[in-house]
């Protein structure tokens, strides 16, 4: 049984069918790439999986349990963690605090222990801090820990957002165009990081425009076009698929 199973997923906005009868599965431990031209419905698909948008029909099954219709925080609670195409860091918080939020789902302290700073929550606080620092270290941005998150360079913000997601110890990591806005060298480094993430045992679902990155790191690729899934296969097969070439380059090249 695959870790994530999606079947017959539909979502329309007004007259626009953003995601139309999409179905695929992601096995544990793999890196699955999702590509498609602008407006293909990739981000909508991510919003559906992470619960920020509710599907109109279809099912999303994670670890043999249906998750469609659950609120985002419960989906995150089950281990599906995402990043955003237009990085969403918490303003007015330090880099370290941003990443500490990642540990939220794996910690307990509530309002009472927060108000009274009960000794019971001290070890947890230390654990949260250590985990966050580890993740910053993993992404080589530990030196930024004390900086204000909104004041960072774009590439650094990407790393911090990734560290925040990893601090949540995801079982499935959704990366929404992580290479957007990065230069070639940074993109190359990102490819290495994604490989390292897979080595941690985390399953990755990757939406990306940068073809070299997707083709390099993905084990399998799905192609979306106008909300429909038009192809699925290994990177090599996708590169040769006439349907895909038609979508990207036009009829003449097919």
């Amino acid at each position: 049984m695959a870790l994530l199973e999606i079947e017959g997923l539909n979502r329309a906005f007004g007259g626009l069918q953003a995601v139309s009868n999409v179905g695929f599965s992601v096995s544990a431990g793999m890196i699955k790439g999702i590509i498609g031209p602008n407006g293909a419905g990739k981000t909508t698909l991510f919003n559906l999986i992470s619960g920020l948008t509710a599907p109109q029909s279809g099912s999303i099954v994670f670890d043999n349990k249906p998750i469609h219709g659950l609120p985002p925080h419960e989906i995150a609670g089950r281990g599906i963690i995402r990043t955003f195409q237009n990085i969403k860091l918490f303003a007015k918080m330090t880099v370290l605090e941003n990443v500490m939020i990642g540990v939220h789902r794996n910690s307990q302290a509530g309002f009472f222990s927060g108000l009274f700073n009960t000794p019971r929550c001290w070890p947890e606080e230390i654990r949260i801090r250590r985990k966050a620092l580890d993740m910053l270290d993993f992404l080589s941005v530990a030196h930024l820990a004390g900086c204000d998150a909104s004041g960072l360079a774009f590439g650094q913000q990407r790393h911090v957002e990734l560290a925040r997601a990893l601090a949540a110890q995801p079982r499935l990591l959704l990366l929404d165009e992580p290479a957007a806005g990065l230069n070639m060298r940074e993109t190359e480094q990102l490819g290495i990081v994604i490989g390292k993430i897979r080595d941690l045992g985390i399953t990755v679902l990757l939406v990306e425009h940068d073809m070299s990155l997707v083709m390099n790191v993905s084990d399998e690729i799905n192609v979306l076009c106008f909300g429909r899934m038009i192809a699925e296969g290994k990177p090599r097969e996708i590169q040769k698929n006439p349907e895909v070439i038609k979508v990207y380059l036009g009829d003449d090249h097919a």
Binding site: S50, G51, L52, P71, P72, H73, A76, G77, I81, R82, F84, K88, L89, F90, A91, K92, M93, E97, N98, M100, I101, G102, H104, R105, S107, A109, G110, F111, S113, G114, L115, F116, N117, C121, W122, E124, E125, I128, R164, A168
Partner: protein, 362 residues
């Protein structure tokens, strides 16, 4: 955990003592009355600072919660429970000290509720009302939330004016002292002026301590994350609706507590305490303090309320708070009592030039 973390609290405590000693030595102990009242109003600002500054949820109805606390406690402690004191339940309540015999101004015998019981009832009422209001209203954001809470505030202010138990336009007077110990109660009597001053500021310090702890905890981080980016907070597993509701109720309880104590201190409460302008005043204080700045809110709360209570703003009292709010939004949206940009610039300049010199020498 470390001493440094609690340095602001210690500073505030020292300041409270210093002010008392200073005004008493200079023979101006009458200031303590307004300083005590200002302290209670500051508790509202502390709670609102948590809600607005840290969690990013505005409320223009906090005078409503202040009034719910004050009026509930006032109504319950001034009511005569003689009729209810006969049955077994009445006897049990008197035995346990929940009710006690008393005399009114004209010497008539009556049975009154213990202020602690009234306080508990007032807090319970506040929690229930805050939950019922917060549950639907906190789904709104920005202007919409401001307007909805404004509506709540105006409902409460009209209810207290229009309801007979709450004394209509006259409010409730003759509220008995809130007995804390056998020899001390929260009341406006001269001989208790100094202990009352210390009690009020102890309440502020406790409130500040709780908020200070919360801000630096897991929950506080989650609240600030909601402020920073709600969608990302949800995607990271934070139950934003629950957190917002909890902090709303918490800040409402702070406002109610402040209302309860101030009502007993003043010996009464009037409908002006529930007015929209009072809510605006609390928001103005938090804004001047710098929104997400607990210490700024306390300084602004104590300072501005003291000036207002001493009558420095004359008949333009409410206009002054309106002006303060407008001017803060226009010229210092970050607040007046946070480290200003220009000051940060100067410090940075001196730091970098000092480093430059250091490099030159090496």
């Amino acid at each position: 955990m470390s001493l440094k973390r609690y340095l602001p609290i210690i500073t505030l405590s020292v300041l409270v003592v210093a002010v008392q000693v200073a005004v008493s030595l200079t023979g101006q102990a009458f200031y303590l009355t307004q300083l005590t009242m200002a302290a209670y109003y500051t508790v509202v600002a502390v709670g609102l600072c948590m809600l607005m500054g840290y969690a990013g949820q505005i409320s223009l109805g906090h005078a409503g919660f202040f009034a719910i606390g004050g009026y509930t406690s006032a109504a319950l402690t001034t009511a005569d429970f003689s009729n209810a004191s006969h049955g077994w339940l009445g006897h049990a309540l008197i035995k346990t000290g929940c009710m006690a015999a008393a005399e009114d101004l004209y010497g008539a015998h009556l049975v009154r509720l213990n202020p602690w019981v009234a306080c508990l009832a007032a807090i319970t009422a506040t929690v229930i009302i805050a939950y019922c209001i917060g549950l639907p209203v906190l789904r709104l954001k920005g202007h919409y939330l401001a307007m909805a809470t404004l509506g709540f505030g105006s409902i409460i202010s009209k209810i207290v004016v229009g309801t007979k138990v709450f004394g209509g336009a006259d409010g409730i007077s003759g509220v008995p002292p809130f007995t804390i110990t056998a020899t001390f109660g929260v009341c406006g009597e001269m001989q208790y002026r100094i202990p009352n001053y210390y009690f009020a500021w102890a309440v502020v310090i406790c409130a500040a301590l709780l908020m200070h702890n919360l801000v630096n905890s897991r929950v506080g981080r989650a609240l600030r994350a909601i402020h920073g980016n709600e969608e990302a907070a949800r995607a990271m597993g934070i139950d934003t609706a629950r957190y917002k509701l909890n902090v709303f109720v918490l800040s409402a309880v702070f406002a109610a507590l402040s209302g309860i104590f101030l009502t007993h201190y003043n010996g009464g409460i009037g409908p002006s305490e529930a007015s929209i302008m009072k809510s605006v005043r609390y928001v103005a204080i938090v804004a001047v303090g710098g929104m997400a700045n607990l210490w700024g809110a306390i300084a602004a709360g104590a300072g501005l309320n003291f000036l207002s209570l001493r009558g420095y703003f004359g008949s333009y009292d409410e206009a002054v708070f309106g002006l303060i709010l407008t001017a803060t939004m226009l010229f210092a949206p970050q607040g007046l009592l946070v480290k200003p940009e220009w000051l940060a610039g100067i410090t940075a300049f001196f730091r970098s030039s000092a480093r430059g010199r250091g490099n030159g020498a090496s």
